[in-house]
């Protein structure tokens, strides 16, 4: 396939498409050399919702023209570079997701586009937005025009459905596995050699042990942590409220998001144990070296299901609907599942995964959110205003 790219400000080059570099640029073979740059005419495969699209809006706003225009043009040339001018006839998808999926979706978007165009479709422009799951859900409720949402827990997606009616309340039954193409669980990350000898949940309530976990009010992941500890207490005939309360009294820093807690534990050296998404724990090992931390798998944990769904009410055309539905369904394809496995998620289909990716996950006893009665029950009772979590800090 021949593609035309732009190099620097003006120069163009043409050649055979080699690969996508993931940040919107592609690499081509121009005969004499390999070159990389943004493709011309066909829209970029993945573009973060940000700065220069807002910039273009401001520019077309009319009132900002005049004196500002010269300066802005310079900036647009510097930052925006080769933004394609005509994108109306192509299909665009906005995927609103949570924090730790950043790396996974960057690669998945390329994978999807390659497959989608191979089916004879025009390439889709996929834009990504990442942030804390709660804040992302609120943005969609307040009018962010998400085509699909891929969040940390179904309670946040329920909230969107309930408050906006953009998609039906039974959205979670529309795709296999509770609409969760990949799952994860909660494990412990401890310092190298496990100096405090932390083996299971009951070691977290011991005197002097410092536990790092984010605030369940602001972090989706932290709610899974909370429930996993609760499940352990119930299994072992302990008073769950007292047990979880004791655990939170050992928390010296309550960050607002999962990544924040990971930073506090790994970079700032605070705490003896981090309650982490399994995929974040593996990522921390991969990024920071196996000799700095160990993963400890508790006897009981929870099956964390980050679900996905189509936001029907924001769909503007049949072409967009077809692309968006395919985008979500393709997450269940063996290739995408292998990709999720390589990003340390527990995916369902291991047929195409590298053996070490599939074999990485230890077997453990997983409770599910259904054991708690489902998120519609759990969310208000445990994490609502005045709920069980709030009571820990009211005396």
């Amino acid at each position: 396939m021949y593609r035309t790219i732009q190099i620097g400000g003006h120069a163009l080059a043409q050649g055979i498409f080699l690969r996508s570099l993931g940040d919107g640029r592609i690499e081509i073979d121009a005969g004499h050399a390999r070159l990389s740059g943004h493709p011309v005419a066909t829209p970029r495969s993945s573009e973060t919702v940000s700065f220069h699209s807002a910039f273009r809006k401001a520019l077309t706003g009319g009132h900002l023209r005049g004196g500002l225009l010269a300066g802005l043009t310079g900036l647009v040339l510097a930052f925006g570079g080769t933004t394609p001018a005509a994108a109306q006839d192509s299909v665009e998808i906005l995927n609103v997701s949570y924090d730790p999926t950043r790396e996974f979706y960057r690669e998945y978007n390329d994978l999807f586009n390659a497959w989608w165009t191979a089916q004879g479709n025009a390439p889709v422009t996929i834009r990504q937005s990442h942030g804390g799951a709660g804040a992302q859900a609120r943005a969609v409720i307040d009018g962010l025009e998400a085509t699909v949402v891929t969040l940390a827990l179904s309670a946040d997606i329920d909230a969107i459905s309930e408050r906006t009616g953009l998609f039906p309340a039974d959205w979670q039954s529309r795709l296999p596995h509770n609409s969760s193409p990949y799952t994860s669980t909660i494990v412990f990350l401890v310092r190298e050699g496990n100096p405090r000898g932390i083996e299971d949940w009951d070691d977290l309530v011991a005197d002097g042990v410092q536990v790092i976990t984010p605030n369940p009010k602001t972090s989706g992941g932290a709610r899974w942590n909370f429930l996993a500890a609760w499940a352990y207490a119930e299994r072992n005939d302990l008073d769950p409220a007292e047990f979880v309360g004791a655990m939170y009294r050992n928390v010296p820093v309550l960050d607002t998001g999962a990544r924040g807690s990971t930073t506090t534990f790994t970079q700032r050296g605070i705490g003896d144990v981090l309650l982490a998404w399994e995929n974040e724990a593996f990522l921390a090992l991969a990024e920071l070296g196996e000799d700095a931390f160990d993963i400890v798998v508790p006897s009981v944990s929870i099956l964390a299901e980050p679900p996905v769904t189509l936001v029907d009410g924001n769909i503007t055309s049949d072409a967009q609907r077809a692309a968006a539905e395919a985008y979500l369904q393709h997450l269940y394809s063996p290739e995408a599942q292998a990709l999720a496995l390589s990003h340390y998620y527990r995916a369902w289909d291991t047929s195409l995964a590298a053996p070490e990716d599939a074999a990485r996950f230890p077997e453990l006893d997983l409770v599910t959110i259904a054991d708690f009665g489902g998120w519609p029950v759990v969310q208000p009772e445990y994490f609502g205003d005045g709920g069980i979590f709030d009571q820990i800090y009211e005396e």
Binding site: N215, V251, V253, L254, Q267, R268
Partner: protein, 279 residues
């Protein structure tokens, strides 16, 4: 039609146009958002507002926010005055560099400031390691919040006091000296009274800024409810619960307390002007 309040109060032309632009911009940028907040409060009703604010956790967050802002601003009042004095009165190598650096807290994204301070003061950071033997932990305690707020508020005091010090006439100090006053006396009875209004303004600005500061504080505070959880974080938490009313209630509580404090500072300013005379 051009009668009434829009009639130009001065012979200077252009009052109608500039007043119109001023009011439009002011409404869009300042009055509308605050009006929307207060409107929400009116819809909830004062009794419900009070119920939503009146809990131990919210009171400890509010007192923490205002206490930390007060302590940091008082520190900035003293230290900012000294900094401005040194920058104006002495000539030394690197003065211009320091002068420019004072504005950095304005320019730096507050999250960057928070992360940088946390990295320095965390138990494994450069300052944190030095302070640990003294039994002093800064990051993830209330002291960490003070440090972040001092950083945020410093330029407000310096930049309001600096021009006034530049305008101080050396004659006054010389006269004071020839009349037999010692240096401390001149400082206390001649210079400080002249600087008081500017100092109070700078203090008020720093205070107002640091009460609402969110970005830098959440990184360095431990965010533990009742201990190191600031009121703006509590607002964010209420929003995460989709409890917009409770968020508005805390916002209004902060607005009311800030307004009362600024009013008090203004009153002190008026009083000191009357006592010292116009400067």
């Amino acid at each position: 039609m051009r009668a009434g309040i829009l009639r130009s109060p001065s012979p200077l032309p252009g009052f109608g146009l500039s007043f119109g632009i001023m009011m439009t911009v002011l409404s869009i940028v300042v009055l509308l958002p605050i009006g929307a907040l207060l409107g929400r409060g009116l819809m909830i009703g004062p009794a419900d507002l009070w119920d939503m604010v009146n809990s131990r956790r919210i009171w400890s967050a509010l007192t923490l926010s205002f206490r930390a802002a007060l302590i940091a601003s008082l520190f900035n009042l003293v230290f900012g005055l000294m900094l401005a004095w040194v920058l104006v009165r002495y000539r030394f190598w690197g003065r211009r560099f320091i002068d420019a650096a004072v504005d950095l807290p304005f320019a730096l994204p507050t999250a960057v400031a928070g992360i940088a301070l946390t990295a320095l003061y965390a138990p494994n950071g450069v300052f944190g390691q030095a302070l640990a033997p003294l039994g002093l932990q800064v990051a993830y305690t209330e002291i960490g919040i003070w440090v972040a707020l001092v950083f945020i508020g410093l330029p407000f005091v310096v930049r309001t006091v600096q021009p006034v010090i530049e305008e101080l006439e050396a004659d006054l100090e010389e006269v004071s000296a020839t009349l037999g006053a010692r240096r401390a006396y001149t400082l206390r009875r001649v210079i400080l009274p002249t600087l008081t209004p500017a100092l109070l303004t700078g203090f008020a600005l720093a205070l107002a800024r640091s009460v609402g500061e969110y970005g830098s504080v959440i990184f360095i505070a431990g965010n533990i409810p009742n201990l190191t959880e600031i009121a703006p974080l509590l607002i964010v938490i209420r929003l995460e619960e989709y409890n917009y009313d409770a968020a508005a209630a805390i916002g209004i509580a902060m607005l009311v307390i800030s307004f009362a404090m600024l009013l008090a500072i203004n009153a002190i300013q008026t009083w000191s002007r009357r006592r010292i005379g116009l400067v």
